[in-house]
Amino acid sequence: MTTARRISGTTIAAHAVLMTYTVIALFPVFVILINSFKTRRAIFRDPLGLPNEETFSLIGYQTVFRQGDFVLYFQNSMIVTVVSLTLILLFGAMAAFALAEYRFKGNTLMGLYLALGIMIPIRIGTVAILEMMVSTGLVNTLVALILVYTAQGLPLAVFILSEFMRGVSDDLKNAGRMDGLSEYQIFWRLVLPLVRPAMATVAVFNMIPIWNDLWFPLILAPAEEVKTLTLGSQVFIGQFVTDWNAVLSALSMAILPVMVLYVIFSRQLIRGITSGAVK
């Protein structure tokens, strides 16, 4: 009896702490979202009130759609993120397969070389990256961003995927070889489908930093037609700082896509972490 009561007491305390922190975590997002649907006067008079019949307004969203090139920015971000992720996964899985499957001279050394980039941020090399992109004419193209993000994502991808590929049974692969599958077919048809959960984990880990990055878009692709959503909303805030409706709506629209992506992939992310992907 007493133990039961004590357990429920600590449980309530745990819920109270977690609930409090949840409120702290979500409060700013909540404030931005509700105010993006209000009239200018209501934003100032009652910033914490929910929009109601009297104060509801979509004027901010209309301004953003009329003036900003948000659709274009969104498209740029989408292209950069999807293409980079595809290349990270494809190239990363290929290299991980070579390292996990074959014994060759320099295997360990190659693994260490590729792992170097996990700890060293690619931003340190920015000066030379910009110089290289200028000399190859890639500045202000999405290709420059895609190349940088692919290089940035590869080390961790190779590391995680090769750990998983070591776990794929040798019998299966050898059976495939008996049946006359080439090494490429073994990789593509047998191994890739089996490491799909690990691929999803790698994708989630890379997706968020790529989507949200401000540094490289600012330096490598600041031109209007290649701006990403993050850079676009940063510039937009600077220009329209007096148009509160528009700023709040722009921010809400920048929040939504990552939230959707997160909800879709969150189970994979948690499974990836708990299965020891980043130990």
């Binding site: 449980t11 745990a14 819920h15 977690l18 922190y21 975590a25 979500l26 997002v29 404030v31 931005i32 914490l48 290349l87 494809l90 190239f91 290929m94 290299a95 397969f97 070579a98 390292l99 074959y102 190659m110 590729l114 170097l116 700890m119 060293i120 941020p121 690619i122 931003r123 340190i124 090399g125 920015t126 000066v127 030379a128 990256i129 110089e131 290289m132 190349l147 692919t150 290089a151 940035q152 590869l154 080390p155 090494e183 990789f187 968020i208 401000l214 540094w215 600012l218 993050t230 921010l251 920048a254 929040i255 990552v258 939230m259 992506l261 997160y262 992310l269 972490i273 708990t274 020891g276």
Partner: protein
């Protein structure tokens, strides 16, 4: 009899490795070393000339430069310290609560607390600027409601508070990462160990301090080094909230913003890629020292401790 044929070249290995190694080498490793090399040059009359370590001499010796550099480094150290003292303990505490068995809604809490982590710095910086701004007044209004209005200060606008405020905003945003990693580490502790402890009468809080905490020390080590690398490479939040001048009066300037300003120039200052490279090299050195300290000092000791 034909001689035993020598093992044929296994081209597929090269084919599998080539794309990753090429992209990684060309876009990451080569620029990294090229940046270190560029730090040894200077531009005079639009010609690149070799100056050896002179840029570093300027950076550390020239009064104007060294003052900025040490200011940025000091601020960066404070930024890192707050993350270590606030973010990581909170993250560990939240993970410990979440991992307690029979806790309901833990998936909900976990996702909700993780949401700030997936938001971009632009959103985070602006949202907090709004909340803390004296003009809009959510923060003063809220403090007023609980009778603490006298505590209110324009935290982001005052030199003595701005850096700490921004560090705490960054903590708010990133607490999800230590929470998730520690949560995973706590879940992977085998039940037998905890049950054995229970038989010896170690439960509740003492089970955490005596059994779980020692077992998750390696994860805490990894989190610390990740925090270190991320903090000494930070830029976005300060830039989004305070601009490239890291105001007020450079009180929030960290190495990332300092490098950006030096490299590109800002307002009256002309951009200088070579001084920018010198700062990047200094950042590289700092990060390298941090990572090596972890790998050769701390991790080894943790291993010994565990077994």
């Amino acid at each position: 009899m034909p001689a035993p044929s020598k093992p044929k070249t296994r081209w597929h290995i090269a084919v599998f490795l080539a794309p990753a190694v090429l992209v990684y080498t060309a876009v990451m490793i080569y620029p990294l070393f090229n940046t270190l090399r560029l730090a040894l040059y200077a531009e005079v009359d639009q010609q690149r000339i070799w100056v050896g370590l002179q840029n570093f001499q300027t950076l550390f010796g020239d009064a104007i430069w060294s003052e900025q550099f040490w200011n940025a480094l000091g601020n960066n150290a404070w930024f890192f310290l707050i993350h270590m003292l606030v973010q990581n303990p909170i993250g560990i505490a939240l993970a410990a609560l979440l991992s307690s068995p029979r806790l309901r809604f833990s998936a909900f809490y976990r996702s909700a607390i993780f949401i700030p982590t997936i938001l971009s710095f632009v959103i985070v910086g602006f949202a907090w600027k709004l909340i803390l701004s004296p003009i809009w007044g959510i923060a003063p209004g809220m403090l007023d409601a609980i009778g603490l209005k006298f505590l209110y200060q324009p935290w982001l606008g005052k030199e003595e508070y701005a850096l700490t405020t921004l560090s705490l905003v960054s903590v708010w945003q990133y607490v999800g990462i230590p929470m998730m990693l520690i949560y995973a580490a706590l879940l992977s502790i085998p039940d037998e160990i905890l049950e054995a402890g229970e038989c010896d009468g170690i439960t509740g809080m003492s089970a955490f301090w005596k059994i779980k905490l020692p077992l998750i020390l390696p994860s805490i080590g990894i989190i610390s080094v990740l925090t270190f690398v991320a903090n000494f490479n930070a830029f976005d939040l300060i830039y989004a909230a305070q601009g490239a001048l890291a105001g007020p009066d450079f009180s929030t300037d960290i190495l990332g913003t300092f490098m950006y300003r030096t490299f590109f120039g800002f307002q009256l200052q002309l951009g200088d890629p070579h001084m920018g490279s010198a700062i990047a090299s200094a950042m590289f050195g700092i990060i390298l020292i941090g990572v090596c300290t972890y790998l050769f000092g701390i991790q080894r000791r943790l291993r010994n401790y565990q077994f």
